[in-house]
Subunit: 461 residues, 2 copies
């Protein structure tokens, strides 16, 4: 076990006025530090895993606060070290005074994620699980939450460790053969080995393929709203958002002309992107706006194409769709202003707008068809979701490591086929194993990598 000799301290709850605030300390000496400041005679170091009411005093004997102390003795704590959590009254002033007192007594203010970094060093969790902790804290909807919980609880780590163990077994067979190389013994059936590596490689490819889905879950499904000017795009956007206003957040548009809003439907995030209207460009500036719209559509997963059911020509709509709809993008064609259209207009649209497009008549004003639109969005998410592995990759560090792992495995497969010397094959296997170990944080020597990972954490975790 890796042991740190110093004691770290940080506020673990957000700043602000509140009922309680929690200050966390970890290290070999934290119980002694608190015992010096605690007025409660019952609190003696080292305590059991236990709760104490106590008064904390500063070094002038003044009362800092009346607090609850939660003690977690090593090794069964988050960091694997002694941990004490101080629940004090939720005043920034009090939190600051308590932390300052313990810093004067010798504790050190913790850096971002330093508690979790200690948990990692002390073998309480591997690196992928540690990364699950921060994803969990960052989670804003059910899908992100489930993804992060899975990673935190080790589902992903176990899968990676399992693949690595198979590679270890594989490598040991090859190397055994190398040791006895001169005697011309064959321990491993080359055909069996090749089959086995192909299988491992296929698992890894599935994981790599799931990354786009993982990204969608993490960042939201990009959904472009496009259409002719005055088709009612803004009204539709507002109508969709209105009922969900409480959980809508603004995202600064990356381009001048596209506005993004995130909406959570059934626990899934959709990034709704409002675009400039599509028509024959009147001038250069407008042409640029339309170009941006077309680019946005090309990079989106879903296109909501909007037209005016009462006024638009269906042939023009079909021509637009021809221009903008690319393979792989799900297109929902919304006939807006149902309230103003007559029966024959509706029937004409229903007759002409057919698969692969999904036609949906809507009235933003009368709030008709909006739930159907939301259902179509959710349905599309599940279409994207289906056929994926039960473990979904969403971390780009893991993604890059798996890409390199696959590269090496493909060399192994080629090598086995071409009958290259066993020591070369063994080297590629070692390299592939190394990449899997990087995901788990084994044998990582670069402090930069760890600093980089843990800097995403909040202070106090």
């Amino acid at each position: 076990m890796y042991h740190h000799s110093d004691n770290i301290i940080a506020r673990s709850t957000p700043p602000g006025r509140s009922a309680i605030a929690v200050i966390r300390m970890s290290g070999p000496g934290v119980f002694d530090l608190v015992a010096r400041r605690a007025g409660n005679k019952k609190f003696k170091a080292p305590p059991k895993r236990q709760l104490f009411f106590s008064t904390l005093f500063d070094d002038k004997g003044q009362i800092l606060d009346e607090v609850v102390l939660a003690c977690f003795p090593e090794p069964n704590s988050y960091t694997g070290e002694n941990i004490i959590e101080i629940s004090c009254h939720g005043s920034n002033f009090i939190v600051q005074q308590i932390i300052e007192q313990f810093v004067r007594d010798g504790a050190r203010p913790a850096g971002p994620g330093e508690f979790t970094m200690r948990a990692f060093f002390n073998g309480k969790m591997d690196l992928a699980r540690a990364e699950g902790v921060i994803d969990l804290i960052d989670s804003e909807n059910r899908s992100q939450h489930q993804l992060a919980i899975g990673q935190l609880r080790g589902g992903f780590s176990e899968r990676i460790a399992g693949l690595r163990d198979r590679l270890i077994h594989f490598a040991s067979l090859i190397e055994l053969e190398l040791d006895f190389g001169e005697e011309d013994v064959e321990f491993a059936d080359k055909g069996e080995l090749e089959k086995s590596v192909i299988e491992i490689n296929s698992f890894i490819s599935d994981l790599i393929d799931s990354f786009s889905m993982g990204n969608v879950i993490k960042k939201g499904i990009s959904t472009v709203i496009a259409g002719r000017p005055n088709a009612g795009k803004s009204t539709l956007l507002n109508a969709i958002l209105e009922e969900e206003r409480a959980i809508v957040s603004d995202i600064e548009g990356t381009t001048r002309d596209a506005i993004e809003e995130v909406i959570h439907l059934d626990g899934v995030a959709f990034r709704l992107i409002d675009t400039a209207g599509i028509r024959e460009a009147g001038d250069v500036v407008e042409e640029m706006g339309i170009k941006i719209t077309l680019e946005k559509i090309a990079h989106s997963a879903i296109l909501i194409y909007l037209f005016d059911l009462a006024l638009s020509s269906i042939d023009e709509v079909l021509a637009d769709l021809e221009n903008v709809a690319k393979p792989g993008i799900k297109v929902i064609v919304v006939g807006n202003k149902l309230d103003l259209a007559n029966e024959s207009q509706l029937k004409a649209a229903q007759g002409k707008i057919v698969l692969p497009y999904h036609f949906l008549p809507v009235s933003s004003v009368e709030k008709k068809g909006l739930q159907e639109l939301k259902n179509l969005l959710i349905e599309h998410f599940h279409e994207l979701d289906s056929g994926q592995t039960d473990t979904v990759l969403h971390n780009s560090r893991h993604y890059n490591a798996l890409l390199r792992c696959r590269e090496s495995l493909e060399k192994v497969i080629e090598g086995l086929k071409a009958g290259v010397p066993a020591d070369l094959v063994a080297m590629d296997i070692r390299h592939a194993m190394g990449q899997l170990n990087t995901i788990l944080g084994r044998g990582i020597s670069s402090d930069d990598l760890l600093q980089n990972i843990f800097s995403r954490f909040c202070i106090g975790k």
Copy 2:
């Protein structure tokens, strides 16, 4: 003991992304509620005061989070009821999901201060102590903090209860006399009684007098910076604030022309009020500005009058001071621009500006004399502070109750002197006692009053 049958739940830490968030539940059934959702077999209701690691599941069997449960069984808890505190990962989404699950299971979202209100109803603390809790959470500097800690720990309550007990004794003597009234017995020595009431009244008057000090501690000592235009007021203000920028906060000026900044010196808050320059008014608007300045000075505790040591006429300064300095306001006369003045100008100022004014040469540019100025401010706070009772009144509800109590006691004293009938005296004593009981929250029948007090609290406390 007053018992509530329902279980309340609320987030007790501020919203936001953080290492951990704490959700608190109180009520008879909270352990059972958690036991239904906890994956930890060791967690059984009712537990001891203890900490548990556990996984919480929603009603679909999905994992909500991995949490730490802190259990506080009745009656030794904050509210006097069973309390459970759930430390989860600090994601707003997770907190919301957990609270929603327990609300579906039958818990009720708590109102502001509802936990403390239950503590009050269950006899865990009187009303004045409960008010100390909210003052503690609101405290922003050492003086406010010490005031609130004192009130929370019951110093003030004990004092009020002591005075009330003396009045009870007093009332019982009078009433005994009333019972035997026909027999013309005198149990109480009228002179002794009168002396005793005068003593109680004097204690209460001391408390009432300490209210202005309490207010100063709570709201900051109002300190007006005034002077001729171009004396360097803004430069001085910035020079004072610069070193303390981290703990400076802006307060929106109540009038158009006065800017307020709060600075904490040695744990005391000073409200620095920058004003328009004083000179012969050029027009009506300027006259109004000067009128506001003079009003600000009249309502302040400290006046920092600033002049240009190198350019101003000392006689004009003295004439200004004559105009603006009112009794009861401490005046610090700051000769600014020491760096530009010569020896004889300094000596002239030192010779002419004498007590009751405090003269201080300063150079805002060279940062000379600033610490001396701060020391003078702190010194004046201690002058204000001296001669006060050890208990300082700072709550206007208590202040008003004590004013009414004093009114009744003065009637009692007059009545005893004038020999009015004992039953009238007894009525006034009962009224005075009633006011002291109001402070402690005894016999309060008005829900409005309680709602009003607890609405100042945060949710979750």
